[in-house]
Amino acid sequence: MPKSKSAYSIPTKKQKPDTYIFVVWVDNEAGVLARVVGLFSGRGYNIESLAVAEVDAVKNISRITIVTTGTPQVIDQIRLQLTKLVPVHKVAEFKREDKGVIFKEMALFKVVGKRNKIEKCLNACKKFNPVILDETKTSAVIQITALRREIDKMNKKLKPLGLISTSRTGAVAMTRGAKIFN
């Protein structure tokens, strides 16, 4: 190994990163999303998707769902750093593979083409609760809800069938059963 000239140590052992979903309850106030997102970018954490909206208008609470990747140590840090932010009330996190949690994304597909192609698209989407939101003789807007990778797959599959535009949300999450996040 060449002699290091750095005043800092050299990174060594790397653990394997995993995908985690964070759910964060925050005061719905100006700048709160910037604080959360700034924490991720400032500390070099990754954001794969992000969904945020107010969930309680009376208490003025928004719920942010963030999909991220990191080693267990990094995930711990993300949770602890998020908890330190003043407008943050509660933080929950779980692994993507967690069976106890539902994890969904929504996508809108605009397909332009002949009727039979649009039919084929709808057929392909059958597993993912397709809803036709708009329809003309030569186009359709199809809504599906599915997992991220399923939407990725559909996106590829529909391209040759006339898909010209995709719009998708970040993932949102909810626990199964009567339980809620801690």
């Binding site: 050299i10 060594t12 400032g42 840090q77 908890t83 330190k84 003043v86």
Partner: protein, 588 residues
């Protein structure tokens, strides 16, 4: 109907209710209403600095030496951007600051108005929290909340951005809320079980070490008291980080000196070889740990910290106790005292061998240096300064670089809050304005800034502040004409390519002192050093002391980059020995 107050009046009402006595600031267009109100509040004294960065560092010095939050008042735009370095510095070193900045009127926000900047955006990553107050009715609540956030948990800086129209607008004033809304952020939830577990570890340890940090200082003087009892009860050796110096007496036999990159041989070797490591209020900074994989490889690690995010951030620990250091250590002491019988007998004898080993490391005398009759060695200068001021309850600030490390190594602190240095951010130019703030908090005490000539030039303008308020701060410059630490790294790691680290055109510090209206003293030879230092101490007023030192001196011992604690480079005596034996520089 209660009286309506203007925003500016509310600001001062809040400051009065928060018992603020001093604010450090610089006026400008967007804070003029607040400055206009200043005259009506005689209990609050404003210290006019010469640059907003100086205001921030002065407030840091004030806060760190007094335990009270420092308050800064600046204008919008450049006023706010100038204070960013100080805010970041305070964030890294956990110093409670409340910064109030003016902002352009609300209707002009976002229009690129004159002296407008996105202050809350810029300062978001370098404050614990910040607020843009757009509604006058929120102002008193936000002001009180700001003081609470800055001073509770792990302390840190906060910023309140107040648009000019809000400073003019009127509202009712609300007193601070007595009940504390913690928002799930109370960090004092440790249990007796954890304490018991720790006490069990203490009694089993054969090679223990206590590693204490700035958290002990931040927790208040009681924490230092508790720490001293703890060390006495256990008989364990203790080492300290740069920020923790003074929490435990520097001249005590159980104290191994500072650890880390420029720590002592005994402290670093003890950290490496120990079987129980107790971190109290420190954060495993990279200047401390060296190579992570080989950091204290065989020890059980305990971490006591008020900030849960400090735990397991860098080093995985076996037992974490989240809480205020004062509470945790007092609890530990009580628990130990209760069981004293079994413990004090067995343990002190079982660590006798460990102390023997530490004694052997100590014999290396790793802080040694080759003194000279011709030129002043910087280490010698600090040692003389220490000897001549140690009986005076002296407050010391520093800039950043070699002089800072020499000060940490050779100046021994016996009380907390006497040592103010920029550790986390490493801000050159910190020491002089910090000394201003310390002197404001302690007008009767001796305050010395141990400085380097390069650092001190970064904030030299604050001498003018010191002269204006007749603050008798002593700027003790170890002048080696180099950015010494840069030069040292270049010598050791970049084949002596001293790229841009030599200052070609230094000012004449004697004339500079004269120009500022303070006293200048110059020392060139070791023979005159003591007399000159005495002259500095005896002078009632600010002094710039230009101490010409050997420009080629390096700061040893040193852990080279990427090396563990037990592979230090020692000083010239040792290097000489090793050359003869052909062992090379790095000692294993």
């Amino acid at each position: 109907m209660p009286k309506l107050l203007t925003g500016a009046e509310i600001v001062f009402k809040c400051l009065e209710d928060q018992k603020v006595e001093h604010i450090f600031g610089y006026p400008g267009g967007a804070v003029l209403p607040i400055y206009d109100e200043l005259k009506n509040h005689p209990s609050i004294k404003h210290i006019l600095v010469r640059h907003e960065q100086g205001a921030g560092h002065a407030a840091e010095g004030y806060a760190r030496s007094s335990g009270k939050p420092g308050v800064v008042l600046v204008t919008s735009g450049p006023g706010a951007t100038n204070v960013v370095t100080a805010l970041t510095d305070a964030y890294m070193d956990s110093v409670p600051l409340v910064c109030i900045s003016g902002q352009v009127p609300t209707h002009l926000i976002g229009t690129d108005a004159f002296q407008e900047c996105d202050t809350t955006g810029i300062t978001r990553p370098c404050t614990k929290h910040n607020w843009l107050v757009k509604d006058i009715n929120d102002l008193s609540k936000v002001m009180h909340e700001a003081f609470r956030v800055a001073t509770t948990g792990r302390p840190g800086p906060v910023l309140i951005d107040i648009p000019k129209d809000v400073q003019f607008a009127k509202a009712k004033y609300k007193k601070p809320n007595k009940e504390k809304k913690l928002n799930g952020k109370s960090h004092n939830k440790f249990s007796q079980d954890q304490i018991d577990e720790l006490v069990k570890l203490l009694s089993k340890a054969k090679k223990p070490i206590i590693y204490s940090g700035g958290g002990v200082i931040n927790s208040g003087p009681k924490a230092s008291q508790a720490l001293r009892e703890f060390v006495e009860l256990t008989g364990f050796p203790i080492t300290s980080t740069l920020q923790g110096l003074g929490a435990y007496p520097g001249d005590d036999n159980q104290f191994l000196g500072m650890l880390g990159m420029h720590g002592t041989y005994e402290a670093n070797n003890a950290m490496h070889d120990c079987d129980l490591l107790i971190n109290i209020g420190a954060r495993f900074d990279d200047r401390i740990t060296g190579k992570i994989d080989e950091f204290s490889p065989n020890s059980t690690k305990v971490h006591i910290d008020i900030d849960p995010s400090s735990i397991n951030k860098i080093i995985k620990v076996d037992l974490a106790i989240v809480g205020d250091v004062t509470n945790v250590i007092s609890k530990i002491n009580k628990t130990i005292s209760k069981r004293k019988n079994g413990h004090s007998k067995s343990n002190k004898s079982s660590i006798a061998k460990w102390w023997e080993q530490i004694g052997k490391w100590r014999e290396k005398d790793s802080l040694n240096f080759v003194n000279s009759d011709e030129s002043i060695k910087p280490q010698h200068a600090v040692q003389r300064l220490y000897e001549l001021t140690k009986n005076k309850d002296t407050y010391v600030t520093t800039e950043v670089g070699q002089h800072q490390m020499w000060a940490a190594q050779h100046y021994k602190f016996n009380k907390p809050n006497r040592w103010m240095t920029s550790g986390g951010l490493g801000t050159m130019g910190y020491g002089l304005p910090a000394a201003v703030g310390v002197q404001i908090a302690h007008p009767e005490k001796l305050v010395i800034d141990i400085a380097g000539e390069a650092s001190v030039l970064m904030t030299m303008q604050e001498m003018s502040t010191a002269v204006q308020y007749n603050l008798p701060i002593k700027i003790f410059i170890l002048n080696n004409q180099y950015m010494g630490m840069v030069r040292q790294w270049q010598e050791l790691l970049h084949e002596k390519n001293y790229s841009e680290s030599y200052s070609e055109a230094l000012p004449d510090f004697m004339k500079m002192a004269e120009a500022y209206g303070c006293k200048g003293i110059k020392a060139d030879s070791p023979a005159e050093l003591d007399d000159k230092i005495r002259e500095m101490i005896d002078y009632d007023g600010p002094v710039i002391f230009d101490c010409h030192v050997d420009p080629n001196e390096n700061c040893f011992p040193m852990i080279p980059s990427g090396k563990p604690h037990n592979q230090m480079i020692l000083g010239p005596n040792d290097q000489e020995e090793n050359k003869i034996k052909g062992k090379g520089k790095a000692l294993v």
